[in-house]
């Protein structure tokens, strides 16, 4: 982020390196129920990101002192595989992944009906297999799908998207190069039905006008991503219907 570079991020037609216009998303594909042992699971491909999410629980919280008598807690664990980035990442939790785990946990906690499960915990394991900018938001989007597929009661799904500033222009859904050489990155997650924001972070600088432009782009994009989430969930159940020639 913010690395000074003379790398050109737009071509003469105003298109980005991967041929997208400023308001375009990368292709997104979500699959559910990919793991048999987990209570719910999802796999997301978002541009070059490949992320696997597994949900376990709600189950009794351990260690015992973590139990809350009033509600469950959501414990997300964001982890990047050593081979997920160009240069080998030292495995294990680090400062960055612990921060992401925390913000994702809090975002999901807002959507899950934690008050129905006193003393319980809900585990969400987010494994990044291949990273290409925007993994926290892709992981969170897939986590919401995995939670719904696990039958966990929720107020709403959670859907995220990023926007940022590249070469002085506000663009949606940054790619790796744009993230590295751009001037700002703004990941936002919302609950699509109520429009409540559950996660917002900003790296770099945006003016108020740019910020407003970025957020309105994100809000519009989340509707599309939410539709992808819903289609992914429905897919498994619609195909059974077609099996008997309906």
């Amino acid at each position: 982020m913010g690395t000074a570079s003379d790398k050109k991020l737009f071509d003469e037609n105003g298109l980005r390196l991967d041929g997208r216009s400023p308001g375009d998303l990368r292709p997104i594909r979500i699959e559910t129920d990919v793991l048999n042992r987990a209570d719910g699971s999802a796999f997301i491909e978002w541009g070059g990101n490949k992320i696997q999410v597994a949900v376990y629980g709600p189950r009794e919280a351990y260690p015992r002192h973590m139990q809350n008598i009033n509600q469950a807690f959501v414990r997300a664990r964001y982890n990047m595989a050593a081979f997920s980035v160009d240069e080998r990442k030292r495995p294990g939790p680090d400062r960055r992944s612990m921060e992401i785990s925390k913000v994702i946990s809090e975002a999901l906690q807002a959507a899950v009906m934690v008050e129905l499960f006193p003393r319980a915990q809900i585990d969400v394991f987010i494994e990044v297999l291949q990273a290409d900018a925007g993994t926290r938001i892709a992981g969170l989007t897939a986590s919401a799908v995995a939670l719904a597929a696990a039958g966990v009661p929720m107020r709403d799904l959670v859907v995220g998207c990023t926007a940022g500033k590249v070469d002085g222009k506000v663009v949606l859904d940054l790619s790796k190069e744009e993230d590295n050489f751009g001037q700002a990155d703004l990941p936002v997650a919302v609950m699509p039905k109520s429009g409540k924001v559950v996660l917002m972070q900003m790296d770099g600088d945006l003016s108020i006008d740019e910020f407003n432009e970025a957020t309105s782009m994100i809000f519009k994009a989340t509707e599309r991503i939410n539709q992808i989430q819903r289609d992914a969930l429905k897919k498994n159940y619609a195909s059974t219907a077609q099996d008997w020639g309906e």
Binding site: I69, P153, A241, E246
Partner: protein, 229 residues
């Protein structure tokens, strides 16, 4: 798609004219109800419910469940009923005269029980009892598990589905509300019965299921041993 019921997602409004929302919904505004689950809309005479496709069993009083003993205390068996929380079976609720510290002589870790939910408190601690007709320690047989929300489909209206499977496969079947099912009979028959249960599990969200299971059982009739015909 007419034979799949309407699918809803968490946060979707649940509005059916003349029907009151009941289970699986939460209040999301004045006189507005939204779904808690990813599941289907189930309409009955007065109410509309959201039935999730899967999820953990939520114990309710007087439910009959099948559980596994996972730990033994001085006066309680700790039983796993595939819910979020484990449950407790006190020695006084067992059908034997048990003295404290001697629980192992009656049931050991790994044994299965067919029991009734006695009570649940506000922090979701629950107790089960074996003091009622038909409740017992399970000996022999085979166990299969399905998601608890699909149990009503396995049982069917007034037990029609499970009775049909029982009659046509000549097996003994006990269905716990928590989704654990106990079967006993000739191995060939049990395999056919499990096949029928898996079919119900996969197609629980569709209508006209009884007819398809009936057809499945008729197709498999040749594999059943002990047919009187």
């Amino acid at each position: 798609m007419s034979n799949v019921k309407q699918i809803v997602m968490p946060g979707d409004p649940v509005e059916v004219p003349n029907l009151k929302p009941r289970n699986g919904v939460y209040k999301c505004g004045d006189n507005k109800y939204c779904s808690q689950f990813f599941g289907i809309l189930q309409e009955s005479e007065q109410f509309v419910d959201v039935v999730p496709f899967t999820g953990k069993y939520v114990p309710r009083r007087n439910d009959k469940v099948i559980g596994k003993v996972i730990e033994i205390g001085p006066s309680m068996w700790i039983v796993d009923i595939s819910s979020t929380y484990t449950t407790l079976l006190h020695m006084n609720d067992a059908p034997w005269r048990v003295t404290s510290g001697e629980l192992k002589r009656y049931m050991n870790v790994g044994d299965y029980v067919y029991a009734k939910v006695l009570s649940i408190n506000e922090i979701k601690e629950s107790w089960i009892t074996m003091k009622d007709v038909g409740l017992k320690k399970l000996e022999g047989g085979t166990l299969v598990s399905i998601p608890a929300p699909k149990v009503p489909r396995i049982i069917g209206k007034g037990g029609s589905m499970v009775n049909m499977i029982k009659d046509s496969t000549h097996t003994r079947i006990m269905v716990g509300q928590n989704g654990v099912i106990w079967l006993d009979g000739a191995p060939e028959n049990v395999i056919v019965a499990i096949g029928a249960i898996r079919k119900v599990e996969e197609e629980a969200h569709t209508v006209g299921l009884t007819d398809r299971v009936k057809k499945y059982l008729e197709d498999k009739k040749g594999e059943i041993v002990g047919n009187s015909e």
